[in-house]
């Protein structure tokens, strides 16, 4: 037996804490739900939005049966990428498509005969519900008419001429919006659900009671568990960022430095969200009462914190709510850092609000957390 108890040597709480962190990390990685919630779900959303793309707008134009397709206007429309011409729809399908928003406009071009002025009449049917797209179509048509009319009349523009000049800016891709939101939400659910389930199960399976019988201090039990959650979730965040960058072209303006800044922010966010988890684990009587309580915290943030769409899309009365939630500020800060290349200092407003949340959340956690 070499189990010599080092009574003489000083007992190291840190060593005990690291032992707990290590054991707990192994336990987390072997739990299917932890892996699904913190890695698989965000990856699925990123995949879906990554493939949908949706970065260019398109105007779906149904070509009516009687439409003359052998004229310069039609040829011009065919060459414009934004316009998607569909020649296969019946009249009733076109009407239905317009009503459902699947078709943005119906096109009918009439040939008025060789000597008529003008030679062609272009008839466009649009619906009020997709007015924006209709306007795009109209301006494209006006542009086409202008060019054709000038060409045919051999007129030299006397008043003004359009000179087009496209500036090259960084493309703001869907992934640049979606990934930080998914990352934020992954941290939120891992922090709240993960922490709550772990502490409740430590209590219920009496693992924590066995810990109490060893010399480790209670604080170090919590620190050890928190450390394991941190290592797991931040590794997950790194993986999400790397896959997003290399597979979907997620913009990391300053490369590695940006990744580090994002991970620092992610850590701050996770620590705050874990505070919610501590409180929930104390409030929940058993495993089945965790999801309802945890969802009260996570669902509003999932929907209102700019995870899937910008909070500017919400009606005015809802905006103040959006602007209170901690995930809103984490998401905003993550986006600024990744896409605009902002430094941590320049998102101090967001970080400050997250700190305020931290104080509030840990006050609640101390109040509700239970050991037994």
């Amino acid at each position: 037996m070499n189990g010599e108890m080092n009574n003489r040597g000083k007992y190291s709480q840190v060593r005990a804490m690291l032992a707990i962190a290590r054991a707990s990390l192994i336990s987390i990685t072997r739990s299917p739900s932890a892996v699904v919630f913190s890695l698989l779900f965000p990856m699925i959303f990123i995949l879906v939005f990554g493939f949908i793309g949706g970065r260019t707008i398109s105007v779906d134009v149904a070509v009516q049966k009687q439409c003359n397709r052998n004229n310069p206007v039609y040829f011009a429309l065919e060459t414009i990428g934004v316009i998607k011409l569909d020649t296969l729809l019946t009249e009733s399908a076109i009407d239905e498509g317009l009503a459902k928003g699947e078709v943005d406009a119906a096109l009918l071009i009439r040939d008025n005969g060789g000597n008529s002025v003008p030679r062609y009449t272009v008839h466009v049917t649009t619906v009020n519900t997709s007015r924006e797209k209709a306007n795009v179509l109209k301006s494209i048509l006006n542009n086409v008419f202008y060019k054709l009319n000038i060409r045919d009349a051999h007129i030299i523009p006397s008043v003004a001429e359009l000179e087009e000049n496209e500036m090259q800016i960084r493309e703001y891709k869907t992934i640049d919006f979606i990934l930080p939101g998914q990352l934020g939400f992954s941290l939120l659910s891992s922090g709240v659900f993960g922490t709550a389930f772990v502490f409740l199960s430590l209590r219920q399976t009496l693992v924590i009671k066995r810990f109490f019988a060893t010399p480790v201090h209670r604080t170090y039990i919590v620190l050890g568990e928190a450390l394991s959650r941190l290592v797991f979730s931040i590794s997950g965040a790194l993986l999400i960022i790397l896959i997003g960058h290399f597979a979907f072209g997620f913009t990391l303006l300053h490369g590695f430095l940006t990744v580090i800044n994002m991970l620092v922010l992610a850590t701050l966010g996770l620590v705050i969200f874990m505070g919610f988890g501590f409180a929930v684990s104390g409030l929940a009587k058993n495993e089945s009462s965790i999801p309802p309580i945890a969802n009260i915290i996570t669902m509003p943030q999932f929907l209102l914190s700019g995870t899937f769409f910008s909070i500017s899309l919400f009606p005015g009365w809802l905006q103040p709510v959006c602007k209170v939630l901690p995930l809103t500020y984490l998401n905003e800060a993550l986006r600024k850092i990744a896409f605009e290349g902002a430094s941590l200092w320049s998102v101090n407003h967001e970080i400050g609000i997250l700190f305020l949340w931290g104080i509030l959340v840990y006050a609640l956690a101390v109040k509700f957390f239970r050991w037994e």
Binding site: M1, M5, Y11, A16, I20, T205, A213, P215
Partner: protein
Amino acid sequence: MVEKQQKKNNQSVKTTLFPVKSPIIQVKNLVKKYETLTAVNDITFEVFEGEIYGLLGPNGAGKTTTMEIMETLRKKTSGEIIIDGKSIDTSPGEIKKIIGVQLQAAGYFPSLTLTELMKLFSGLYNVDVNISEMLNRVGLSDKAKAKYKELSGGQKQRFSIATTIINNPKIVFLDEPTTGLDPQARRNLWALIRDIRSKGTTVMITTHYMDEAENLCDRVGIIEKGKIIAVDTPDNLIDDLVKKGFERKKEVKKANLEDVFLNLTGNEWRDE
């Protein structure tokens, strides 16, 4: 009263493997009250270094409460407990380092292997142990890579004892270690407990199996409704009762049914 006990302890020296030295545990006037219930009602006893002391009593008598207060896991209402010269009030942390605790109900991370769990406990106690040697001692070497949740009841108890002795403690507390085990597992756990004591460790055990106490314990304290009603060696308690004229209704044969069972099914540990 104490003097009388002391005298009887001197007699018990003959039956103990190790010479009894001095009390390593002293419990004085211990009281534990819950809101409506007095679980432990003013009990006083001593455990001597190197002995196996059994706390016997029916369910709800206060055995576990008493043990858990001694293990620093529960707060007492009043009274005094000294373990290896340290007061439970002033040095609970020091006491935790020199005791090994097997709880009646305690859990381990279910998805971790025994080796991983032993590493966890070496960290928790700040000790460097040879894990395979420890597992071998409790007969679980072949389960080193098995997850805790895959163990049978008896294997779980043996594993629990491995975590109890990992810090080479001066005293181990075992709370109903054999409850729910088959006769083979029970016998072999007794052998393990004797082995632990043979290394000089004091053992305090609770049980409600009298055959277990008779086989294993140097002295027993019988606890009933939160009070200790008798303390002595099993032999002396039996002799006292016989002296009062007690007779068994059925004459005792040279063997009992358990002997028959073990004779037929063998003594080996089973992978239940």
